[in-house]
């Protein structure tokens, strides 16, 4: 490492590993080598909003869901809901039940992926474990039973999607504006019903294990993105946990509801989008507070912070216990995204069970027919990582004139930067670049479970690059592991 004379320095972690997508972190140092601030840069550029212009609106679920191999279903649903609004029809009950069920499958598989495949190596093998083994393969070696359970749970989530919509990934030909193309067969429903108890058992065991290991992470809980923000997400009319329908609720750091039952269609009235030259990801903020003060978080932690109850027995019990961790029911540490994710896993499995027990889910009537009736439509869903908004404007023939998507991960952008700064300040001492502290910087990002390119990549194979850059922007030194 080269020391600059009288100049600040910058440490770069590039790429950040075990997240979905490509990003780097730069750590800006003061002249005395203390950490000034850290920035989370997103390096992907996709352009979906632009290249979908001119396409028929009913192609949008297929096009936009291709942005993500992890949570295509959330895109399918947000997009289909925007299309429902464009044609102006209400899908039949069975279609809504099936879409909900499919979404439960999505949340289960994504949460299982985040916890077992991406974060468990940090949580169970230790933040300071060597990077060669601190991955899913290391986990398989050290704790094979747990790794197998993780794979099984994720598989069950994928199977829900497959049984409902035909394919595990990109089952875009099932969902259509106004409903779905085909009903759920009795065989498929029976299959899912019979496999549900095992998945529920795994979720309960995992939650129990996680709770018992929490004491070992006092430091991380204290320093992993532990700061006050607002929280945003969908809730049911009664303020319960919601992932498919519902209205927007915003809660402040003290747990006070600052806005409730906001119409998702009017998102532009309360969500602004700022742009910074150093990242391809926009910075949404809560408009009444302005930028960057309007920082808020979305995703599992935010959803549990804003919801007064879950609505399923086991998850409700867990939620009560969870809320005790924070003041007035608001849990502040980003580390607890993991905890929240596991409670949601439980909720999703219980909800899937309820949905499968509803006889209406087998109804043959799954679509309402209509063509373009409205010139625009907004669709919102709670993706695994948070509130996902699709907004389209179409011409009289239904061709897309304009599209805007606010991806769940974007909402957390301001919080990412604050969180990496907090972790860097605590763990990074400029002259001793050590594995554990760099990993903690990555781990705080992983706690949010960001989906940057919305694409999968090979686990554990990416190099970690750390760069030291002086105040003039010149590369002074770099380290690759």
């Amino acid at each position: 490492m080269v020391e600059g004379k009288n100049m600040g320095k910058e440490i770069e972690i590039h790429p950040v590993t075990r997240i979905e997508g490509h990003a780097k972190v730069t750590i800006h140092l003061n002249k005395d080598d203390s950490v000034k601030e850290a920035r989370f840069h997103v390096l992907d550029f996709r352009g979906f909003e632009k290249f979908s212009e001119g396409r028929p609106f009913y192609e949008m679920p297929g096009i936009t869901s291709r942005s993500c191999g992890i949570c295509p279903v959330s895109h399918l649903l947000a997009s289909a809901k925007a299309c429902d609004a464009i044609v102006g029809v209400k899908p039949p009950k069975a279609a809504v039940l099936l879409r909900r069920l499919m979404h439960m499958g999505q949340l289960i598989q994504s949460h299982a992926l985040s916890f077992f495949h991406l974060s468990a190596p940090d949580l169970l093998l230790g933040m300071d474990a060597p990077p060669e083994t601190r991955n899913i393969f290391g986990l398989i070696e050290k704790k094979p039973d747990l790794a197998i359970q993780g794979v099984k749970l994720r598989k069950f989530g994928q199977e829900i999607i497959e049984k409902v919509a035909g394919k595990r990934i990109h089952s875009y030909d099932w969902i259509i504006p106004g409903g779905a193309k085909w009903p759920l067969s009795k065989e498929n429903a029976d299959y899912l019903r019979s496999n549900l108890p095992e998945a529920l058992d795994i979720a309960l065991k995992t939650l129990k294990m996680f709770k018992s290991s929490l004491q070992g992470f006092d430091d991380e809980v204290e320093n992993f993105g532990n700061f006050p923000t607002y929280y945003l997400g969908l809730v049911t009319p009664k303020g319960g946990l919601e992932h498919y329908d519902g209205k927007i609720r915003i809660v402040d750091a003290e747990g006070k509801i600052v806005a409730d039952q906001l119409d998702p269609e009017a998102y532009q009235e309360y969500i602004g989008e700022a742009v910074e030259p150093w990242s391809y990801m926009k910075f949404p903020y809560y408009k009444p507070l302005g930028y960057p003060e309007g920082i808020y978080r979305v995703g599992p932690l935010a959803r549990l912070n804003i919801a007064s109850h879950c609505g399923t027995p086991l998850a409700d019990e867990e939620l009560k216990e969870f809320k005790k961790l924070g003041k007035k029911g608001v849990v502040q540490s980003t580390f607890h995204y993991h905890y929240a994710r596991l409670i949601e896993l439980l909720f999703c499995l219980e909800t899937a069970k309820e949905l499968l027990e509803d006889p209406a889910i087998l109804s043959e009537r799954v679509s309402s027919k209509a063509s373009v009736n409205n010139e625009q439509g907004v669709g919102v869903a709670e993706a695994p990582r948070g509130t996902l908004i699709h907004h389209y404007k179409v011409d009289a023939q239904g061709r897309i004139l304009w599209a805007n998507m606010i991806i769940a991960t974007e909402h957390n952008n301001l919080a990412f930067n604050k969180a990496v700064t907090q972790v860097a300040k605590k763990y990074v001492k400029a002259k001793q670049l050590q594995e554990g502290m760099l990993n903690r910087v990555e781990a705080v990002i992983r706690a949010f479970d960001p989906c940057l390119s919305c694409a999968t990549h090979a686990v554990g194979q990416m190099p970690l690059q750390v760069q030291l850059i002086d105040a003039e922007g010149r590369l002074v030194d770099q380290k690759v592991r």
Partner: protein, 235 residues
């Protein structure tokens, strides 16, 4: 059709077919498959896609099997290293000419161009792709044309003219600028001749003409022209 027959060899197999039969039909009737995207039973042959090119012993050039009649003593090769290479190149040219994105196409998994590309092992294109952005016409109640996916096989034009008998569809311009149009290049909704019979969508080998909201498997029906002709001639 003449009662006279002709003897020839296709891929070294001796066959006997009625005089005037095309090489494509002679091969097909004898269980030899030659790839094609524009030829369709019941429609006149057009020779546009160039995928059915075959070698004839003693002739220096290749012949389109769909428009070349058999002759006595002819020795036809339908599958050689050279032909496979040419066919792969033709598919690549078709793919590069306009915007073919299978992953979001209505005809994905039920597309003749896609399945032929798979069959011939076309996994990339050596030609730079054009990525056209032609305007989609979805003005019709249910019929949609996305000219970005059109391979100019003209099946739709021929079925509209020869089977439905209205000749709503035709081509404008030439070469890669060519486009299927309705009447005098109107928006589909304004066509006064179109009977909305859907035959164009039924015979389209790709996802260029389709019925909005209908599963592609229900729309597609390659046998429609031959079926109607058979009924019409009361065979």
């Amino acid at each position: 059709m003449s009662a006279l027959t002709v003897k020839l060899k296709i891929d070294n197999i001796e066959v006997e077919v009625p005089e005037g039969t095309t090489i494509l039909k002679a091969a097909r009737d004898n269980g030899i498959e030659i790839p094609t995207l524009c030829s369709l039973e019941g429609l006149t042959n057009y020779g546009g896609c160039r995928l059915c090119l075959v070698e004839v012993k003693g002739a220096p050039k290749l012949f389109p099997a769909c428009t070349t009649p058999v002759s006595a003593g002819m020795e036809v090769i339908t599958n050689s290293e050279q032909l496979r290479e040419y066919r792969k190149m033709t598919i690549q040219l078709l793919l590069s000419e306009r915007t073919h994105v299978c992953s979001v196409c209505v005809a994905n998994d039920h597309c003749e161009l896609q399945s032929l590309a798979n069959k011939l092992g076309v996994d990339h294109s050596i030609f730079e792709r054009n990525w056209t952005r032609k305007e989609i016409d979805s003005s019709h109640d249910f019929l949609v044309i996305d000219r970005n996916r059109c391979i100019l096989c003209t099946r739709c034009i021929r079925v509209c003219d020869e089977i439905e008998g209205v000749h709503t569809l035709d081509l404008k311009q030439r070469g890669r600028k060519a486009e299927v149009i309705m009447d005098l290049d109107e928006d589909w909704v304004n066509s006064c001749s179109c009977t909305s019979c859907r035959k164009c969508a039924k015979v389209c080998p790709v996802g260029a003409i389709y019925i909005e909201g209908e599963p592609i498997t229900r729309t597609k029906n390659k046998d429609v022209a031959e079926f109607i002709l058979t009924r019409r001639q009361r065979k």
